[in-house]
Symmetry: C2
Subunit: 168 residues, 2 copies
């Protein structure tokens, strides 16, 4: 295993992670590869120029995608005294940020399903349908309620995982 092989492995990994994160975190292809590149770095940060060169993209695209990733809380940068360059790196908080986003998403899903349930109950009331008379309906409604419970459990689990991470 020499330096060349490692460079190849790096490029391969950037590509693999790139494809994965595109869907996983809904990033543009380039954003995703920038993120991957930073995740692989052992330095204190990677410069604009180096990112541009390794990914072979234009200055402007790199810039926009760096801004995008920063605004999403996925990366940030630091500077070194007497050096105007920015050293981009993965945001230390990014996992937390993403966990918080996931929690928000599940909360949203829960709220929506509560609204679905409430809508269905209104329909039943308006049409004077007794749920007990129709086992199919009964199953549907109880399924809804179960799903809401499921989202609650999911949210609780995510909160616990978050707390575990904070405790490290």
């Amino acid at each position: 295993m020499n330096s060349d092989d490692l460079e190849k492995e790096k490029r391969l990994l950037i590509e693999k992670m790139g494809v994965f994160f595109e869907n996983w975190d809904t990033l543009s292809p380039l954003s995703s590869r920038v993120f991957a590149l930073l995740a692989l770095s052992l330095e204190d940060g990677v410069t604009f120029e180096e990112i541009k060169e390794t990914l072979g993209a234009s200055k402007s695209s790199i810039c926009t995608n760096l801004q995008l990733l920063q605004s999403k809380g996925r990366i940030d940068y630091c500077t070194k005294p007497g050096d105007r360059k920015r050293y981009f790196k993965i945001d230390d908080q990014q996992i937390m940020t993403r966990l918080d986003e996931k929690i928000e998403d599940w909360k949203q899903e829960k709220i929506l399903h509560e609204k679905v349930l409430s809508y269905k109950e209104k329909v039943l009331a308006l049409n004077k349908i007794n749920i007990e008379d129709n086992s199919n309906l009964k199953i549907k409604i109880s399924y809804n309620k179960h799903y809401i419970e499921f989202t609650e459990a999911m949210i609780e689990d995510l909160k616990k995982l978050k707390q575990n991470l904070l405790d490290i």
Copy 2:
């Protein structure tokens, strides 16, 4: 609350759920609204024609998106004896399917981070860097390891949630 108000509430909900599921489950706008419509139905299924009319989309678009949702395991249909129409409905298994997909995603994320760690260790080895000499590096590497543990915990939690759902 009359029938008209309910119809309005339904359309509003379809729109809200539509927007949400587009990102949540990476569906096309129309797919997402079809899914929402089916989720709100109290009947045993909704016909092609009714979906088309409520969503005001073309026959072909409805068709393609119904196929897409079926291939993703999000919806399916049943037929009624002596009736050629298909009655589309939410797939009973869809939550399971989605949970399984989530588990697969986290497994993938775990694998990728293991590869990142392995890559980093190779870089250190090649450059004969002792991690103990550099607290920054040490933190980075241990962060990686913690993250892998985190993905494991996440996967376990998801599996438990899945089992709970199966037990209902």
